[in-house]
């Protein structure tokens, strides 16, 4: 979740051939809501409720907002912080993911960005600088006993890896509960549908082709969600090796041989997003991991 201020919080509602489209920006991405039914007033209020929820989540969990719960945690400098239920749920979830990935998915690994800049260049960190930062990384170093979180000094949490997908799921529930359903919520490529569309067999979603010049895959989505983890813009290239921006919190270095991008279809956007992230963290075993899960995925290397 990036983006510095609350500027750019416009909301656009346009009529489509069938239904309505709402557009706004949240969590550093262009966000789109498609609704098949309802008249303009109802569609507008549903879209407004969705945008409000997306911005609420952004304001509450973005590490760029001064004074929100994440900021309080990140500036506590070793002191204990008491959190509310929603934050506690996310921290419990992050703990499960930490265990599930044998420590590779770690919300405290964000500080490694201080030594790594994934700008497509070949500038890797100075020796020793990674190790210096590593002492501030490790969810096992944090003490999380709901509802109290106590990070070590100079440790920070970053919920960017969970936040967007979580927001999509919260927002698709708003669609499902409205009279404007069926609908689709798409936050920068992480999307979910409330159900099959009425006039066609399925929602059509294009996923980038596996090779740069191969055709996009068109996916028929009737239920569930799609999420993509990828390094399209954020990588380093040095000595013929591509270093993805997915860092191993244990070593502080990028996971070797991670795919360029992984797109996963799952029941919810959160599951799709986490599965694609876990797949990336498997490096060269990404496809093997995804096949064993028995889910639909597209892996680009």
């Amino acid at each position: 979740m990036s983006g510095t201020g609350t500027a750019g919080r416009d909301l656009q509602v346009v009529a489509m051939e069938h239904g309505w489209a709402g557009r706004f920006r949240a969590m550093g991405s262009p966000c789109e809501v498609l609704l098949e039914n309802g008249h303009r007033e109802r569609a507008s209020s549903t879209i407004a409720a969705i945008a409000a929820e997306a911005w609420r989540i952004e304001d509450k969990f973005s590490r760029y907002r001064k004074g929100n719960i994440v900021d309080q945690i990140n500036t506590a400098n070793g002191a204990a912080v008491s959190v509310d239920d929603e934050t506690a749920d996310l921290l419990d979830f992050a703990t499960t993911l930490y265990d599930l990935s044998d420590g590779r998915f770690d919300i405290t690994s964000g500080v490694l960005r201080e030594v790594w800049t994934f700008d497509g260049s070949d500038r890797v960190p100075e020796p020793g600088s990674v190790e210096a930062v590593l002492s501030r990384v490790g969810w096992s170093r944090a003490r999380w006993e709901r509802p109290v979180l106590c990070l070590g000094p100079q440790m920070e949490i970053d919920l960017g890896g969970i936040g967007k997908e979580y927001a999509v799921d919260r927002c698709i529930a708003i669609v499902g509960g409205s009279k404007c359903a069926p609908g689709l919520v798409n936050f920068g490529g992480d999307l979910a549908v409330s159900g099959p569309p009425t006039r066609r067999r399925a929602w059509k979603v294009a996923v980038e082709g596996v090779l740069p010049d191969s055709a996009d895959h068109v996916i028929d989505l009737r239920q569930g969600a799609l999420a993509t983890s990828g390094d399209a813009q954020r990588f380093l290239f040095r000595d013929g090796i591509r270093y993805s921006h997915i860092l191993d919190p244990g070593s502080g270095w990028p996971i070797p041989n991670a795919p360029a991008s992984v797109t996963v279809a799952a029941d919810t956007c959160t599951q799709a997003g986490m599965t694609s992230t876990l797949a990336m963290l498997e490096g060269d075993r990404a496809e093997e991991f995804l096949e064993k899960e028995g889910i639909l995925f597209w892996c680009r290397r």
Binding site: L97, H217, D220, G250, T268, L278, I295
Partner: protein
């Protein structure tokens, strides 16, 4: 050194949980996070351009009667804008015998084969079955479907089939229109067919006698038949869980409607036994008694009313249908069909099926022909035109493979039991098992996948 070692993540040594449990744990964790209950299972697939639906069928009647092995396939190519082209082909390999229409006797009987080239014999007490046919049938269908405006759907198609003694060619068209927020659909369709019957040996003159081997003097070559079917239907969404449909069909057939191979036994007015032949049996063989080829009217008009309901009961689906048919041959029939689809987990289902069918006999249905009475204009002892009840009972098991393809296996038992109207039984026929009851096993395996 130590730092470098610590930095290496040795994946082979890390405690690799069973990967399958990752998605299960993740699902549970997500459930806890979102707090919205178990989500509906994802339904996503690469936009299919092709849809392949294939099945292998075995149909087998007991008592050395008809057995059929069939391969059927429908290949569908999907185009943009919801247009599609379907090509279907079916190959049937048929063997086995079928009742010839003659009645059982307490003595052995012989009959001339339809080709006129040889004869076959039937032991005393047995139902006369003609096993001449080992036939292969090939059928081809093509169908184009496309939306017509916002709410319409147009479909046009053709069908053709060929077997040793039969050729069919047909065209059909159907239009459906959605109303009332897509809750109501009205449809109308028409099919026209032109068929040729090319009986082995030639079509016999109706009500003429079965002749000796080598004698084809009563044969008349090939015949034609035209059929027109019209269907009008309404389908209606009743509630979130219930949809119903009602169809009215009209069918008109015109031309050669006889079965060229079926005969009736000409019997004595008192004993009910088949009249013996009047001349000695020639060396090449021939019929042991007097048999006449059947005759049906050269027109038939049928009306049907069909209604179906599909009802969702908490994930299980009940499919109930009823059809009433009546025609100008005085046949009336009722069909009740019940299916219940019971999902097992998210990937498979069990579907028991029961069908009840009953029909009354055609006006010209006769078990045999009474030689002491005047011959009727039309007569047939074909069991398919008689008075019978039939029951089908079966079970189907279907599953979705990991790659999202559908497979199913169904096993069904079909049984027919008929009765001859009491006033048709003469003498020794009473008390005999006259009606060729049918018991058949149906096994079908289907495989469907999209690409």
């Amino acid at each position: 050194m130590a730092a470098a070692d610590a930095g290496v993540t040795d994946m082979s040594k890390s405690s690799r949980k069973n990967d399958r449990s990752v998605s299960v744990t993740l699902a549970a964790a997500t459930c806890a996070l979102l707090g919205t209950g178990v989500p509906a299972p994802v339904d996503a697939q690469e936009e299919p351009k092709w849809d392949f639906n294939t099945s292998l069928l075995y149909y087998g009647e007991d008592g050395d009667r008809v057995q059929d092995a069939s391969l059927k396939s429908i290949i569908r190519r999907l185009f943009a804008d919801d247009k599609s082209l379907s090509i279907g082909f079916t190959v049937d390999a048929l063997t086995g015998a079928t009742p010839s229409g003659a009645i059982r006797q307490d003595t052995a009987q012989t009959f001339t084969r339809p080709s006129g080239n040889s004869a076959y014999s039937v032991p005393a007490g047995d139902l006369p079955l003609d096993d001449t046919f080992r036939d292969t049938r090939v059928a081809l269908t093509a169908n184009w479907q496309q939306p017509a405006g916002e709410k319409g759907l147009l479909s046009i198609g053709m069908s053709t089939s060929k077997e040793y003694d039969y050729f069919h060619l047909g065209l059909n068209a159907n239009y459906a229109h959605a109303f009332n927020n897509r809750n109501t659909t009205l449809s109308a369709g028409i099919a026209m067919a032109s068929d040729s019957i090319e009986p082995v040996g030639g079509a016999p003159t109706p009500l003429s006698a079965m002749l000796d081997v080598g004698d084809v003097s009563n044969r008349n070559g090939d015949q034609d038949k035209d059929v027109m079917d019209v269907v009008f239907g309404v389908s209606q969404v009743i509630s979130r869980d219930l949809v119903m449909q009602v169809n009215y069909s009209y069918s008109y057939s015109d031309g050669y409607l006889n079965n060229p191979y079926k005969v009736l036994s000409l019997v004595d007015g008192d004993t009910g036994d088949t009249l013996p032949r009047t001349t000695p049996l020639p060396p090449d063989g021939g019929p042991s008694g007097q048999f006449l080829f059947e005759n049906r009217p050269d027109e038939r008009t049928q009306h049907s009313l069909y209604t179906q309901a599909k009802y969702n009961m908490d994930g299980k689906v009940l499919d109930l249908s009823y059809r009433y048919m009546t025609d100008d041959w005085e046949i009336d029939s009722h069909t009740v069909d019940v299916r219940y689809r019971w999902p097992i987990g998210s990937r498979s289902y069990l579907e028991p099926h029961v069908r009840f069918y009953t029909q009354s006999e055609a006006e010209f249905y006769r078990l045999s022909l009474d030689s002491s009475q005047e011959l009727p204009a039309f007569a047939s002892s074909d069991y398919r035109l008689g008075n019978f009840d039939a029951i089908t009972a079966g079970l189907k098991y279907g599953w979705k493979t990991r790659s999202g393809n559908d497979m199913s296996l169904r096993v069904e038992w079909y049984t027919q039991s008929g009765t001859v109207p009491g006033d048709q039984l003469i003498g020794n026929q009473t008390g005999r098992d006259n009606y060729p009851d049918l018991n058949a096993l149906i096994v079908q395996f289907s495989y469907r996948f999209s690409r």
